[in-house]
Symmetry: C2
Subunit: 288 residues, 2 copies
């Protein structure tokens, strides 16, 4: 049996009781280590589970799936994923390979950013399509996420922006030389994402294009959701550029049309200088 | 402290380790019992947790919030919610009341249908706005969910349809007589939801309106997601009308544009007669 087990979002104790029982019963336990992270590392999980974990990087999952699935028809193998197992396409591929190899699989679900983001105060059923914001490079500055945010906003919907993660990245130089030297991991912050969005707004304004959001759009930055030291900050996009929410992971929500109950909930985590703006919303937003 | 604890989707063992620890430490534990259900009842949970649970129906949560929050500034109170605590607006209201009363709160997240539905094979970031399908009555046949589904489909997005739950409902007669006699709980099935959708399609076709989906649109019915006997069935909307997915809860997904990997995954749970249709999709869908 292949168990795909969600670890939730915070630390080792966020696994479900059912998930923990499965981990303890498996002969091999892989920890997926490139689409997300917990606030604790491999060693803390190993101690908590009482099990050795095998780190599964992108190469192993995408090219070494046979290794992960080896003997899973006669023994139990666990594949641990931060959040819920179906948060990333890669894991669907592993399921397909198992099915094609005649290996049974079982999913043990858990919270992921896709549903836990509801705790910021915005109703989940008022969210539109989720987008990914990627790190820009000097030569590659995609803006497709901006267009999707605008489309959601035009329909009155909020947008969850998943922020880029770079782990085990090589420089082009090292890659060309075949040197397996990896850069330190990078996790996009709310501040960086807000900055990229404002750069798009500025470009569009300069070129006379229509704006679907502005520096004054109310947004919510969340960091380490579900952990003891989680941070949720509500402010305008401009305000979030200068906010420091600490260590990863960060996510950003761009609001659409706000319901009065949502505004009340946003207030709980609004910074003093953001409150004023939210108060202004009270009288104007609900009539539009 | 007020703990809002998600129970996940299956049975008693789907609570997180952190959640179980919190339950055991609380002096009063409420179980929210009207927006969703597990595959096990209150007694099974009480035995598993080693705690008495207080059933919290809609009246208690919406009008008796003071009772729930009583002394929560000096003692620990838990409020258990099937799925994740922020799945329903009602629970946001409880958080607001706690904050206004100066009571600290902590959320312990878990899987909900909003993210666990990814296991049907459709990618979560290809979902648009979630809709609710309500039981029609003789005099009330709302169609707004249909329009939202069409809007999602026009944007290429899938739609998660949450299906109606009626618990502790009174007949109009009993309500007028002030008799607190409640009807048996009702949970909308995938078959019933598909039937209502087809009735809307037929009406629109008769009246010459444009159709955003048809009886041949590929849909996925899911039942008791996350439990040992969960069922996932992929078929056309017409096929799902006659499928029996067993006891509650059910949810329905209407597909938008399908990615090849999604089609491969849908195949795993497709009924023999639905496979043919999915095969047809291969050659036509991805060019549109």
């Amino acid at each position: 049996m292949l168990y795909l087990i969600g670890l939730g979002l915070g630390d080792a104790a966020d696994i479900t009781v059912k998930g923990l029982q499965a981990v303890k019963s498996c002969s091999r336990v892989y920890l997926e280590a490139y689409t997300s992270i917990l606030t604790v590392g491999k060693e803390a999980l190993e101690e908590y589970y009482g099990k050795q974990l095998i780190l599964a990087d992108r190469d192993l999952v995408e090219q070494g799936a046979d290794e992960i699935l080896k003997d899973a028809d006669v023994t139990d193998v666990a594949f641990l994923v931060v959040g819920d197992p179906f948060g990333a396409t890669t894991h669907s591929d592993l399921v397909l390979r198992a099915v094609n190899a005649g290996i049974q699989f079982k999913v043990i679900h858990n919270a992921s950013i896709m549903n836990a983001v509801g705790c910021c105060g915005l109703q989940l059923y008022n969210f539109g399509e989720t987008v990914s914001v990627v790190f820009w490079t000097e030569t590659w500055r995609p803006e497709s996420f901006y267009d999707k945010i605008c489309k959601n906003r035009a329909a009155g919907l909020h947008t969850l922006c998943l922020l880029d993660i770079k782990v085990k990245e090589q420089t082009i130089e090292n890659m060309m030389r075949g040197k397996k030297i990896y850069e330190p991991p990078r996790f996009m912050t709310v501040s960086q994402a807000a900055d990229q969005l404002i750069q798009i707004i500025n470009r569009k304004r300069d070129e006379g294009e229509e704006l679907g959001l502005t520096e004054d759009t109310v947004c919510v930055g969340v960091a380490r959701l579900g952990s003891e030291d989680q941070m949720i900050r509500t402010g305008t996009l401009r305000q979030l550029v200068s906010c420091d929410l600490g260590p990863p992971l960060h996510s950003l929500v761009i609001t659409g049309q706000l319901h009065p109950l949502e505004v009340d909930l946003l207030r709980i985590n609004a910074e003093p200088n953001a409150l004023q703006h939210l108060c202004m919303l009270d009288s104007s937003t609900f009539t539009s």
